[in-house]
Symmetry: C2
Subunit: 335 residues, 2 copies
Amino acid sequence: MPDVATIEDVATRAGVSVATVSRALRGLPHVSPATRERVQRIATELDYRPNPHASRLAAGRSGTIGIALPLLNSWFYGNVLAGVEAVVSEDRHDMHLVTVGNADAMARFVGDLPSLSKQVDGLVMVDLFMLDDMWDAMAEGGMPIATVGLEIGRFDSVVIDNVGAAHRAVTHLAELGHRRIAFIGGGPGYSEFESAEVRRQGYRNALADAGIEDDPDLHVPGGFTVDGGREAMLHLLEGEHPSAVFCASDEMAMGAMWAAADAGLSVPEDVSVVGFDDQPAAAALGLTTVHQPVSSLAARAAAMVLDRVGGSETPPRRVEVETHLEVRRSTARTI
Amino acid sequence: MPDVATIEDVATRAGVSVATVSRALRGLPHVSPATRERVQRIATELDYRPNPHASRLAAGRSGTIGIALPLLNSWFYGNVLAGVEAVVSEDRHDMHLVTVGNADAMARFVGDLPSLSKQVDGLVMVDLFMLDDMWDAMAEGGMPIATVGLEIGRFDSVVIDNVGAAHRAVTHLAELGHRRIAFIGGGPGYSEFESAEVRRQGYRNALADAGIEDDPDLHVPGGFTVDGGREAMLHLLEGEHPSAVFCASDEMAMGAMWAAADAGLSVPEDVSVVGFDDQPAAAALGLTTVHQPVSSLAARAAAMVLDRVGGSETPPRRVEVETHLEVRRSTARTI
DNA sequence: CGGTCGACTGGAAACGCTTACATTCGGCTG
DNA sequence: CAGCCGAATGTAAGCGTTTCCAGTCGACCG
């Protein structure tokens, strides 16, 4: 473990003070070109790297952006991560990852907030459902925050029109003549993300607009996983099965298709299926689904955080990005 | 932004020195039970949180584990992340995420290594293909490192038998009577991860063992994405199409199935498809594939890093975890 | 009962940087 | 040419911990 060069070493070697080195290396004014060039050269020679902890302690900023989300092993959050990563690393910031997957973790997260706020300059939060007083706690720190998925008035947020998108999807089914349309959504448990609820609202609205009665038996939790979707569909198939299913995620839709196949039903002849997200696998499967540009959505949020970290002081912004229904082979006119 | 309490505040209020507070709060010896209890109470009252940068600067450790991987938006890496996260957060460490997705990023990564080594106590590296001198650079820092996917002798590594697994998969196809078996693998470009190569080796071995001639025209790059797999398959279907395809990932297999369907071929009647990974979607699709326990694999690696961070000094360990072929509906006897 | 030993505790020096403030110095103004 | 100004540079005070070292003090040994 070779002892690494400190700013002092560079200063000595360059025959200047540490203050000058600091200014020279960070591109601050009040350094003559000649000095700056010399300091830079020597820093390179010595392979000097500023100690990040020392900088952060002294300067009070961390140069890192935090990202908090419920899970990592899903297509959606993977893409969120990718989107955030792209802009954050572009801006030469580091990423601090924290997952908040259950109520315990959530409590810890909120409890650790004061500590977190020292470690990151800004935070992007994805789909984290919190109680109001938790949001108060978040706001209190004064740290730049952007939310994606959830719309929290006092923070920057980038969202999609979940209600509208779901409405569109279900209306598509209704227009194909379907009257018995099921909904596979969130829950049970902590996985009951808010997004499932708003999508369900869109589903309800669409049913109402189409003059279809909302049958509570056709609402089934799917936990946003393939397996959950499969279970949900199996459950739906126990009784008189629906002619169409709207799922709050592609994963669940895939599970539903799986269950249908197992039950000897073919898609879309016997049952139409609609998903949500439009991950690449959906295209491969021919799944009709709501397309949302996940990565760019997350990237927007990250950009907003960085913007504020950079000093911008605008009032909270709300960005809504467009979605559209991608119609494929999994939906067809009912017979 | 309310000024937060420092260790000094706690010390003053408790009528002891900062040294004692530090010892008391961290559970070190040489603090009387009474004092410790009082300090803890006061710290809680003041909602005191140690400034992480100050601790790290003074103590020289960071309490965070780094994870470096090529991408974020794939099932595989998402699950790697989840696996690492689970054990890292269990051990109350933070996570520092860095993605190294192309040659530029790789160069920067290696260049920033000295800096990184101050920010993390240990590192888990996934599938990062590096030149030898880069590995030398990594080793030089003396930081605990575990690799997953790649086997680097001087580091802890957790791997699967890629060659064997691929052999098994292709042998399965051969046993079903297939003679014209294609391979969809990595590349072109940086996505040519090492894992594609070793799997190709297993493919070659299996062909040889089955007495099948290896036809270079049947090797096609698929870039480890659904779209890439689709392109690859479309390419394969241009000529006399193969009766079976072995893909180095499930994503590519899904792309291949998609292309087959588009071309009016049915799976497995006209063409058998085998994937690699066994993500949930594979089960939904009935895709025959090599199962590997991704999360636990990654978790093992993280545990090894933490082990070393904790002071363990064993020689480099190598863990090989089992895989198996999950036979489903996408493969059938050739006609 | 003097001395020794250990458990507690405090003092203060790092840790490596940023930055407010002071200083120097050459060139300009009047 | 005295005086002033601003650019370049240096000085040093933090930033909030950890940790080495040295005291203090009561208990216990011989």
